[in-house]
C-alpha cells in the first residue's frame, strides 16, 4: 500500500510532497526527511486574530466593527490576517506570524491545515499577503472571500514556503456576528529535493505516489520569485515543469539542469 499521507493528511516520513504552481506550470518536489512534531500535530490557536473595535469591510458596501476579539460581524470580511504568537510562542522568529519561515529555513516547510469553527466561515489565502491569487477567466475577475467565488468554507490546506508572508482572509456571509475560532493541524517538515531527475519525472507523472498540492499562486509576484531564487536557488523555469509522458528525455535534461542550481 503506497500511503503518502497519514490519517491527518500530512505527508509521512520519506514520502514525497509536490507543490505545483499554476503561475509557472512548474512544481517543487520534496522528500520529507523528518516531521519534527510527529505525534503532536494539533495546535488549537483560539479566536481569530480580529481585535475588538477593528473595522471590517462588509459585503453590503459599508463597514462593520468587531464587537469583541475574534468576532466577525454579519456580512463582513477581514483583510489579510496573520496569526501572531500566542502565549508560550513568544520565541518564534516573527511574533506577528507563527507560520513565518525565514529564508535561512530553507530545509523547512510548514504544512498547515486550518479548521474554522463555525465552519460556515469563508476562507482564502493570499501569497504573498495582499496579492490576490484567485482568477476567473484569465485575469478578468479576481476572486476570494470578498467575491462570489474563490474561497472555501471552514478549512484551508496550505504549505508555507520560507521567505514569504501569507495573508489569510475570512468572511462571514451570514446575518449573525460569529465567534470564530481556528485550529491547526500542521507538520513541520525537514525536506530535501530528490537528486534523481528520473525519480522527479516519475513523481510528476504520478508513477511514484506523492501528496500533490496545488498552491494558490496564479500570479508570480516578485516576492515569490525572490523567495524561490533566494531559498532554493531557482530561476526560470522556477521548478520542474510538467512534461508529457513521451517527453521523458527532454524532461530529464531540464530537470538535471534545475537540480544543479537547487540549493535544497
Amino acid at each position: 500500500m503506497d500511503r503518502v499521507v497519514d490519517e491527518l493528511g500530512l505527508v509521512v516520513e520519506n514520502g514525497f510532497l509536490v507543490l505545483f504552481f499554476p503561475a509557472t506550470q512548474a512544481a517543487l518536489v520534496f522528500r520529507v526527511r523528518a516531521r519534527v512534531n510527529k505525534g503532536f500535530e494539533v495546535f488549537d490557536y483560539g479566536p481569530l486574530p480580529i481585535a475588538a473595535g477593528s473595522a471590517l469591510t462588509t459585503y453590503l458596501g459599508g463597514s462593520a466593527v468587531a464587537p469583541e476579539d475574534g468576532v466577525l460581524p454579519p456580512y463582513s470580511y477581514t483583510g489579510d490576517v496573520r496569526f501572531p504568537a500566542i502565549m508560550g510562542l513568544e520565541n518564534v522568529r516573527d511574533k506577528s506570524d507563527v507560520w513565518y519561515l525565514d529564508k535561512d529555513d530553507s530545509d523547512r516547510l510548514f504544512h498547515v491545515k486550518v479548521s474554522l469553527s463555525p465552519p460556515i466561515i469563508r476562507a482564502d489565502v493570499r501569497i504573498p499577503s495582499g496579492v490576490s491569487q484567485i482568477r476567473f477567466q484569465r485575469e478578468r475577475v479576481v476572486g476570494g472571500v470578498d467575491g462570489p467565488l474563490g474561497f472555501s468554507r471552514g478549512s484551508l490546506e496550505v504549505v508555507h514556503l520560507p521567505g514569504l508572508i501569507y495573508g489569510y482572509r475570512f468572511g462571514n456571509d451570514t446575518s449573525l456576528p460569529l465567534k470564530v475560532y481556528s485550529r491547526f493541524v500542521y507538520a513541520e517538515y525537514v525536506v530535501e529535493t530528490p537528486r534523481s531527475p528520473e525519480l522527479i519525472f516519475d513523481v510528476l507523472q504520478r508513477r511514484v505516489p506523492s501528496h500533490w498540492l496545488t498552491m494558490p499562486v496564479t500570479y508570480l509576484d516578485p516576492s515569490i520569485r525572490s523567495a524561490l531564487r533566494d531559498v532554493y536557488g531557482l530561476s526560470e523555469p522556477w521548478g520542474f515543469r510538467l512534461y508529457r509522458i513521451d517527453e521523458r528525455d527532454a524532461a530529464i535534461k531540464e530537470y538535471s539542469a534545475v537540480l544543479r542550481r537547487l540549493k535544497v
Binding site: 463555525p118 465552519p119 460556515i120 471552514g154 451570514t174 449573525l176 456576528p177 465567534k179
Partner: protein
C-alpha cells in the same frame, strides 16, 4: 461543510393569549439575535427541539423567503405545543429542512402562548450544510 449549532430562545409573556418572536442566543454567536439568514447554497435542518414553559406554549419555526423585504412574510413550517406545564424534548425524528437559495431567506422562532405569564424557553439544534450534502 457541516455546522451544527444550538439556538436558545426565550420570552416572557405577561398574560394569556400572547404571541411574538423569541429572543435568540447561541454559543457561536455574539449577543442576541432575532433570526438567522444563511448564505445561498446552504440548507438548514432543524433537528432536536426542547421546550419548557407553561401549558399551551406553542413553539413556531418560521421561514421567510425574503427577510430583506420591507415587510417580510413568514410561514410557519413547524409547530410544537406544550400540552402541560413542564418540558418537552423532541429528538430522533426527521428534521425540518429550510433551503437558502438566494441568501435572503431567514428562519426565526416564535411563540404562541395561550395560558399566561412565565418565561418560556425553546432550544433547537440546527445543522447548516451545503445544499448537495
Amino acid at each position: 461543510m457541516r455546522w451544527l449549532f444550538t439556538v436558545i430562545g426565550s420570552a416572557s409573556p405577561t398574560g394569556p393569549g400572547q404571541s411574538g418572536d423569541l429572543s435568540l442566543a447561541s454559543p457561536d454567536v455574539h449577543g442576541p439575535f432575532s433570526s438567522v439568514r444563511l448564505p445561498k447554497g446552504i440548507k438548514a435542518k432543524v433537528w432536536a427541539k426542547r421546550l419548557s414553559g407553561t401549558v399551551g406554549f406553542t413553539l413556531l419555526v418560521q421561514f421567510s423567503p425574503d427577510a430583506t423585504a420591507p415587510s417580510p412574510s413568514w410561514t410557519t413550517i413547524d409547530a410544537e405545543r406544550l400540552a402541560a406545564a413542564g418540558s418537552l424534548s423532541l429528538e430522533k425524528r426527521r428534521p425540518i429542512v429550510a433551503h437558502f437559495k438566494t441568501g435572503n431567506e431567514a428562519l426565526k422562532l416564535s411563540y404562541a402562548d395561550t395560558t399566561g405569564a412565565g418565561t418560556i424557553y425553546a432550544v433547537v439544534e440546527v445543522e447548516a450544510s451545503d445544499e448537495d450534502e
